[in-house]
């Protein structure tokens, strides 16, 4: 496993934890998405209460180089509010489903955040100067009597305490009948896609009153519905290519140059079912909860209930690598169906060099798979290890039979403690792992 040992094995250390300490979790504080920006300097989280919290990494302390900069709160704002759909008599949740950063073009930062129905483009800008010395206004803003002005002066900028402001620049609404599960920014940095259960729309970042429907899998007769879209993403380099995954375990790659409505896929990725493993739950556990392209664009990774699969875009009939996340749950599927855990949507992510992939599990465990060494490790996000630079101890789940010391038996796992969202810094070995209401930041041990 990745852990103590020579060579290139990473030793993960606790760095920080954000969020409330008490076990009583306020529903609004449940973290629903985590995302680093393109430089890794900013880390954004969204929660069930519709808020976005952005952390900024402080500049590396050159003198004390035993750790990288810490992440501190940079900006907090209310992105979405609960709404009521009067036509359907249903509430629209304010929960942030996804955040995606735009690459930085100027001093300000931009991100897209979305709930079930509406996508918003937010501008986050810094203000550390303010103008002083107006002719017609006092410092407190009151207007001066013009007759008292005897001389003119040029207002100047004077430094002030740093203020970070978030303002909504665009609101992309009314384009989704079903719940938005994904947003993805195109490599042209001008357009982006949003996907709900049955449709995918293409937007231009500047235009809010119009979007193009590029995928529509809604059957004419809703009674015939057997498959939904679960995730979608643009290719990182090829601006005409995107993929979307389904609840039946398939991934379709589409080329927007082929036709306006991408109803016919260019490629269909599907692994034939293993007949010996067939059960009533086979379809449910094959449903893909997340799809992510590698940074190189050559591979894509999918997450289904029990495994992570790496696909080569040139090979459609099976994945090139498969990693078991928690195979010991296969014999518990009935119970997991009964308590709805089988429908949990786990995400997955690549490290910066595409050599390691990470995903979450239950009991606040998360797993990493090294594609080169074929070794894997299970770690735990818990406040027990919360001394900085404490190396995390690998965990092990005992599937059956005699439980060894330090192992945890399957029946003792806490299925309420699930890690659905994880993120990896684009350049360094820094990871952000979200438990229900806490955000953990781990770094590799530096010597």
């Amino acid at each position: 496993f990745l852990g103590a040992g020579g060579g290139n094995d990473i030793q993960w250390c606790f760095s920080q934890v954000k969020g409330a300490v008490d076990d009583d979790v306020a529903e609004a504080d449940i973290i629903s998405t985590v995302e680093f920006n393109h430089s890794g300097e900013l880390l954004a989280t969204g929660d069930k209460g519709g808020r976005v919290v952005i952390f900024q990494q402080e500049q590396e302390n050159k003198i004390q180089s035993h750790s990288r900069g810490e992440y501190n709160v940079y900006s907090t704002f209310q992105s979405h509010e609960p709404e009521f759909d009067y036509l359907k008599s249903l509430e629209i949740e304010e929960k942030i489903n996804k955040i995606r950063w735009l690459p930085q073009k100027n001093a300000a930062q931009f991100l897209l955040s979305t709930n079930d129905k509406t996508i918003k483009l937010w501008k986050i800008s810094e203000r550390d100067k303010r103008p002083e010395g107006y002719n017609l206004k006092e410092e407190d803003g009151r207007y001066r009597d013009p007759t008292t002005v005897t001389t003119l002066r040029v207002p100047v900028f004077r430094p002030m305490d740093l203020m970070v402001e978030a303002s909504p620049r665009r609101i992309f609404a009314n384009a989704h009948t079903y719940h938005i599960n994904s947003i993805s920014i195109n490599s042209d940095y001008e357009t982006y896609l949003s996907a709900d259960d049955l449709r995918i729309n293409l937007w231009h970042l500047e235009i809010t009153d119009r979007s193009f429907n590029i995928v529509d899998i809604k059957p004419a007769n809703m009674e015939e519905l057997t498959e939904v879209i679960t995730a979608a993403e643009f290719h990182p380099n090829s601006c005409n290519t995107f993929v979307y995954s389904s609840s039946k375990g398939t991934i379709r790659l589409c080329d927007m140059r082929a036709s306006a409505l991408c109803d016919r896929h260019s490629k269909l990725f599907e692994e034939p079912e293993d007949p010996s493993n067939r059960s009533f739950f086979s379809e449910i556990i094959s449903s893909i909860s997340d799809v992510k392209f590698s940074h190189s664009g050559r591979y894509m990774m999918t997450r289904d209930y029990l495994s992570v699969k790496i696909w080569d875009l040139n090979m459609e009939n099976r994945p090139v690598e498969t990693y078991q996340v928690h195979e010991y749950l296969r014999s518990k599927l009935c119970s997991l169906y009964e308590n709805d855990c089988i429908f949990d949507k786990f995400e997955c992510c690549w490290n910066g060099s595409d050599s390691i992939v990470m995903t979450g599990s239950y009991n606040n465990f998360f797993r990493m798979f090294d594609r080169n060494t074929k070794r894997d490790v299970t770690l735990e996000a818990s406040r027990e290890n919360n001394k900085p630079r404490t190396v995390l101890k690998p965990r092990k789940v005992c599937a059956s039979g005699k439980r060894k010391k330090d192992e945890i038996s399957v029946d003792s796992l806490d299925f309420n403690k699930k890690i659905l969202h994880t993120a990896w810094h684009p350049k360094e070995n820094i990871i952000a792992v979200a438990t229900t209401n806490n955000l953990y930041i781990f770094q590799d041990k530096m010597n």
Binding site: M222, T226, S276, N277, S279, F280, E283, S331
Partner: protein, 249 residues
Amino acid sequence: MFVRGLKRKCFDGEEDIEGTLAGIKAIPSYNLQRQSLLDMSLVKLQLCHMLVEPNLCRSVLIANTVRQIQEEMTQDGTWQMINTQSTGQASLDRLVSTDILCRSSREQAEGKHVPGYSTFSKDFEGNQAQDSSETMSTASSVQAPRNLQSDVWEMENPQENKGNFQKSLDQIFETLENKSPNSVEDLFSEVDNSYYDLDTMLTGMMSNTKMGHCDGLETFSSPTTTPSNSNCKSDLNELDHIVEILVES
């Protein structure tokens, strides 16, 4: 899909009788578990209407599971059992450990013992004595009709049951589409245009069909659908009332 005649090993106190009744007992055991899964799935589909807005992916996956079970039950001819069994208890109380359903067919063939992970163990232990006699009597009562009247049952019921079942699944999706909240009555109330057809009302055909429909639903719905049942009956009373008025005028 699954190997039949497999001994269940997770319950205590049954090993004495298992040897003699292994053949008969194993079949209802699997069927009972499959029935439990079906009941659980239908309850889940109903429950999802009581939330803010149903999660479409979850609903679709559960509905597909229900269809799979229905198809398998139709294929092996056990679908007619739904009407014959007294299913007043078609609720979570009846759910038993469904670990057999979690086993892959390979494990089943090897007769591998999978540690029982019964979340329903509390209910089951209490009913265990009852259950074994229940399953035995069910087994024997089911065997009889199957053997003697299998052709008749198969001709008469599966299509109708399938129709009723398919109808309720369709209604689930219609309701999901319209996203109308949330009551179970909405889910199972039939929107049938012939209801308002004067001819059918006066000839009394409507009342018969309506009653049959309600019966079909009763057998695999949870106790929470009793309101829908009364809904049917009150609608019928209204119908009679309307017909009376029309006839008199």
